[in-house]
């Protein structure tokens, strides 16, 4: 089911991110989804996240769908040209996978195969445009599709706590104009920044899902501050993670922080996207403490 239908109904949409393994055995992934992700509306599957070669997003989405989960197919422009991207979109339509998250993608040098050719034939904006064209029954080459065109929920990303937030807002507007129907944000650790961002972003009239990462400890927070674009964990929060090492290690502090951020931001957004990064088992606790599920 397209998650845009849920936004239209005014539902608060919950998604969780899952990263396919480096290999083709996904029993464990499916088990984790079964065990911990029953309360989420859709599972969002990354596309060789951080430019690390892994099992494909589309195959994983299909496996999740076969298990009864609603999935979101992430697509980046890093590894495929427009022919391959459009072809994979048709493949997704064939499998009945109709939720998309369309991104430019990290550069190839960021990952575990830096020798690879970075493609970027399209970018997030022109990829959204390409999907829209397919929905109109034509491809980017201007050639007509055979039969009924596909229909997708077209998602995009934005970075509300970026130090270049105005540049990000300009890009967001361009994505909306190109046809983006919902947004998922980079992880937010500063609720006020998110709220200020939403005051400006609400003019675009598209649903925004608050992105959250469950912090695993002070070291991870510091790492993200130094290395991950668009993320800054405030010093008080790092102190909070340092205060009781055992509690932080057990995930209790991380869950508390994440639930608190969701509570603070909830009335300003239309959904939440949880990037558990291996801590899928904590997702139920986060949702419960945030008061989203009982």
């Amino acid at each position: 089911m397209r998650i845009t239908e849920l936004f239209d109904r005014g539902e608060f949409v919950i998604t969780a991110e899952i990263g396919p393994p480096k290999g083709f055995h996904i029993d464990e992934l499916l088990h984790e989804a079964d065990e911990y992700l029953q309360d989420v509306t859709a599972i969002n599957v990354t596309d060789c996240q951080s430019s690390v070669m892994r099992l494909g997003s589309l195959a994983t989405c299909k496996a999740l769908k076969d298990k009864g989960f609603n999935s979101i197919f992430q697509m980046t422009c890093r590894d495929r040209n427009r022919i391959a991207l459009q072809s994979d979109l048709l493949s997704a339509a064939y499998f009945g996978i109709d939720n998309l998250l369309l991104l430019t993608g990290d550069h190839t040098v960021m990952g575990d195969t830096p020798q690879a050719k970075p493609v970027f034939d399209l970018d997030s904006v022109s990829l959204i445009h390409a999907v829209k064209q397919l929905e109109n029954g034509v491809d980017l080459g201007g050639n007509e599709l055979v039969g009924e065109p596909p229909k997708f929920a077209k998602g995009a990303v934005v970075s509300p706590c970026s130090d270049s937030v105005d540049v990000q807002l300009a890009k967001m507007e361009r994505k909306v104009k190109a046809g983006a129907q919902y947004f998922q944000t980079q992880a937010v650790f500063e609720s006020e920044k998110f709220i200020t961002f939403m005051e400006k972003a609400k003019q675009f009239g598209v649903p925004v899902m608050l992105g959250v990462i469950i912090p695993k400890g002070a070291a991870m927070a510091n790492f993200m501050n130094n290395n991950i674009a668009g993320i800054s964990v405030p010093p008080e929060m790092i102190e909070e993670l340092k205060a009781d090492k055992e509690k932080a290690k057990a995930g209790i502090t991380g869950v508390e922080i994440t639930a608190r951020i969701i509570k603070e931001c909830r009335e300003y957004c239309q959904g939440v996207h949880i990037m558990a990064l291996g801590w899928e088992s904590k997702v139920p606790d986060v949702l419960r403490q945030a008061g989203i599920v009982n």
Partner: protein, 212 residues
Amino acid sequence: MLITELKQKEDIMPLISAKTFVICCEGCKEVYFPADEAAEFSDELTKSATANGTVVTEYICNPEHLQLQLEKHMGKVDEAGTLLVFSCGVGVQTIAEMFADKKVFAACDTHPLPGHQGVTPLEYDCGQCGECHLGETGGICPITACSKSLVNGQCGGTKNGMCEVDKDMECGWERIYRRLEKQKRLDAMLHPVKVRDFTAGERAAKSMTTKD
């Protein structure tokens, strides 16, 4: 922009014949050219009588201009077994095409010159994309100033205004945005979706070299 650098003499010498005509491009504003080293090497070739003649001129990539420059040397060129060209790759190809029956050798290696700060002796760089975007990007080239050559705006990888690929390189789209902001024309950021045409660079190049 391009940067050319002299090949190793040991690599060149075995290739050229005892009678070699030397064509040396003085470069142009598009190409950073090691003029002094080239002159030095070509003098050596003249002194050792390897070179039977030399022409130094600019814009050897312009065939008509080059033909004029070579007119009075044609006898020597005809006599020569090989031609050695000091120029960027475009110049070498121009000459190779003009003297299709002669062995033409490049004396230089040509590298694209990325516009990374602190690396480039020249300030601007053109990726010859054939669809110049400068009008909407405040005169900053998105093809060369952005590591992913994005034409629709900034990716999510910018941190502290720097590019995700290289922490010492300013993000090109950050620069474009700030420039447009300064010029009070941020509406340029809302340009309709651009889908690059990767045949454009080639097409532009073709239309510049063929006349009908």
